[in-house]
């Protein structure tokens, strides 16, 4: 069998091995490639910066462990930005596997700024209902979440005394891995409710890389004020927040992986055009 035929029929485990190596190497020897911040990531950052000190944001952590590598760094960076500016965070999840991840993020970031649970932030846990919950939160959040993730009635929590609905908060942050998520927030809530500043409730999104292309349309239409896409987006917000987290460290590996995949595409096409075709 000629070399080109062998390459065309290459056992895919060799390809897997190459990917593994190029991802691992930058963790051992970081390349330190500079992160470039996109306009959409700046929009995400600015939206949080516009929230006045003492204001409140809603954080919808709609993801599960599968998307954790991409989305947890976004949650951590968003919490960092909020807490350092004394912005309160009311978190909840529309994915059943989300609350422990949100809990973990809160317990990692809050102590750095001396924030107290129930006063400066709260995790309301998961609620089944998808779009129905989204709309209902807009009019009566304490009715939808009568207790927090630990079962404590929200009426006893100081942070929830002034939070009734969207007009009690300044911003909605949607960290989303799929359905229900950003798209449903925009469709059900966007342009329908006012925030505490009596403006249309601004929504910003952090999503997986595969979903991001779909949401650019919403950014361009003004329905989303900011967008973070995938690990790159997470690295961008980490840069804006001034933190070096897992996303920043992962970008070197992602850079090399993209280069290698491009090389595979070029090689595959070269072999194809040089006669190593394989009929389906």
């Amino acid at each position: 069998m000629s070399l080109s035929n062998r390459l065309v029929n290459l056992d895919r485990r060799y390809i897997f091995f190459v990917i593994l190596i190029v991802i691992i190497i930058p963790y051992i020897r970081p390349l330190g490639l500079p992160i470039r911040v996109s306009r959409e990531a700046e929009g995400f950052f600015s939206a949080i910066e516009k929230v006045p000190a003492g204001g409140t944001v809603l954080l919808a952590a709609d993801y599960d462990p599968g998307s954790m590598p991409e989305l947890q760094p976004m949650t951590l960076a968003a919490l960092d930005l909020c807490f350092r500016r004394n912005v309160k965070v009311v978190g909840f999840c529309l994915w059943p596997a989300g609350p422990p991840l949100l809990n973990r993020a809160l317990s990692q970031v809050a102590p750095r700024y001396g924030k107290e649970y129930g006063v400066d932030y709260v995790n309301l846990g998961f609620k089944e209902g998808q779009e129905a919950v989204m709309v209902r939160v807009g009019s009566a959040l304490p009715e939808v979440f009568p207790a927090d993730y630990n079962g404590t009635p929200v009426s006893t929590l100081p942070i929830m005394q002034d939070v009734e609905n969207f007009s009690s908060v300044h911003l909605l942050i949607s960290i989303s891995a799929g359905y229900p998520g950003t798209k449903e927030w925009v469709q059900q809530v966007g342009q329908r409710f006012q925030n505490a500043n009596r403006e249309m409730l601004p929504i910003v999104s952090g999503c997986t890389a595969v979903s991001a292309p779909e949401y650019y349309a919403y950014v361009n239409a003004g329905q989303l004020d900011g967008l973070l896409g995938g690990l790159a987006g997470a690295a961008e917000i980490e840069k804006l927040a001034g933190v070096t987290g897992t996303a920043t460290r992962g970008m070197d590996g992602q850079s090399l992986a993209h280069l290698i995949i491009i090389a595979f595409i070029v090689l595959g096409n070269l072999l194809y055009f040089l006669g190593g075709r394989r009929k389906k």
């Binding site: 599968g66 009734e164 359905y179 342009q191 009596r198 595969v210 979903s211 292309p213 779909e214 389906k280």
Partner: protein, 427 residues
């Protein structure tokens, strides 16, 4: 593919079951209205404004530290609501000395006036909306005054009155109503047209979709190789439209495999989809005249968890090596894992989903992909149901109308006229 098979004749006209539905619906309407009136009565808020009166020190306007009384104060009902809001406006003074404005409200011209909010000096209007602590009722007349806050004292405007009135139609959404009515009209008209066509023995035209021919070829290939056909109806629940459409295609696949005596494996991700899939496949075998060949164990519930289900399907593919894999339904991140594993086993793969973010993975890894609405169209094509084809036609014509509107919009925007585009903005 049975191209010559006549359409299923549409049902008869209004019949006993439909009359029952109409009667039942009317009864439910009455019951619902009764419940709503009760709910509304229970939710009525009664009582004057609950804010504590503001401490205002009135001085003579024009004196040092006393700003002039706010000018041009007016109050207007906010339209397109349930009588829950009024807007108070005034002329904001640009000169210094005004620290802010306080809005006062009373239910009687003689008072007592209570402060309901304070705004900054640059603000020239305030929306008094119903809410906790701010009861505002439909049809009730309210009296307002606006006080300008100065360094050494405050000055108050004259009293103005306004009545919040509820609207019965939200005129801001007229554009949406027109478009929806147009769309619904098209869908219903073409559905009726298709039904009439079918009654006369005809068949509304739907273009052939390459992926559908490929399904039959794939089943044929599996039969020749003596291996199974694997049909994955997506990972979403029975309430998802794609799952419903997938069941239609599954029924057709079941009829075909029953005729060829090819095993059909259907792994299912959601517990609620299991009885749906079982009934669909069983009906397919019955329709093909082979009820004895139906194997209930081939409808396999694996797990509700996305990646546990994916691991289970991968296991089926690697162990049982089906010759044809059909991925038709709602898929998410597991799509590439399924398609790549299927490719590794050498199976012919046909995919179809309306989840556009997964389409690139299926296009790359599968032999044929039904993209977005082709998947819906495939169901209509296979089912040969006049209703489904009518809906398809209505949707297609609506797209033509939208394209025309977009072209007009491009021209008007380029010409500098924004009125056309503004009409479509949803408020």
């Amino acid at each position: 593919m049975e191209a010559g098979r006549a359409l299923t004749p549409p049902g008869p006209g209004p019949s006993a079951p439909h009359t029952t539905i109409v009667r039942g619906a009317a009864s439910l309407c009455g019951l619902l209205l009764l419940v709503l009136l009760t709910v509304d009565a229970a939710a009525e808020t009664v009582g004057p404004p609950t804010s504590a009166p503001a401490t205002l020190t009135f001085g003579r306007p024009g004196d040092d530290g006393i700003p002039p009384a706010p000018d041009s104060v007016g109050v207007a009902d906010i339209p397109n609501d349930g009588g829950e809001a009024l807007r108070v406006s005034w002329k904001a003074e640009a000169e210094t000395g005004v620290r802010g404005y306080i809005i006062l409200r009373a239910e009687s011209a003689d008072g007592p006036f209570a402060a309901i909010d304070t705004v900054d000096a640059a603000t020239a209007s305030f929306t008094d909306a119903a809410g906790p602590g701010h009861p505002l009722r439909n049809g009730v007349t309210y009296h307002y005054r606006v006080a300008a806050l100065g360094e050494l004292g405050d000055s108050e405007s004259a009293t103005v009155t306004g009545t919040a009135r509820q609207s019965f139609f939200n005129t801001d959404r007229l554009n949406l109503l027109v478009l929806l009515a147009l769309f619904f009209g098209l869908v219903l008209a073409y559905t009726r047209q298709a039904a009439n066509h079918a009654r006369r023995g005809g068949m509304p035209f739907v273009r052939k979709i390459a992926g559908l021919t490929a399904i039959e070829e794939a089943i044929g290939r599996a039969t020749e190789m003596g291996r199974a056909v694997l049909y994955v109806p997506g990972i979403d629940d029975a309430n998802n439209i794609q799952t419903i459409y997938s069941m239609i295609i599954l029924g057709n696949v079941a009829r075909t495999v029953a005729r060829y005596e090819t095993p059909l494996i259907v792994p299912v991700c959601r517990a609620f989809v299991v009885p749906l899939a079982e009934e669909t496949v069983k009906q397919g075998y019955v329709d093909a005249g082979r009820p004895d060949a139906y194997v209930r164990n081939n409808i396999r519930y694996l797990s509700d968890e996305q990646f546990a289900f994916t691991a289970g399907v991968d296991g089926i593919m690697l162990r049982e090596k089906p010759a044809a894999n059909l991925f038709l339904g709602s898929f998410f991140a597991e799509s590439l894992i399924l398609a790549e594993t299927g490719f590794a086993t050498g199976a012919v793969q046909i995919a179809g989903t309306a989840n556009i973010h997964q389409l690139p993975f299926f296009v790359v890894a599968c032999d044929y992909t039904l993209i977005g609405e082709e998947f819906y169209a495939a169901s209509a094509y296979l089912a040969r149901e006049p209703k489904l084809i009518g809906v398809l036609k209505g949707t297609d014509w609506m797209k033509v109308i939208l394209i025309a509107l977009m072209l007009i919009g491009i021209l008007t925007e380029s010409a500098g006229w924004e009125g056309f585009r503004r009409w479509f903005v949803l408020r």
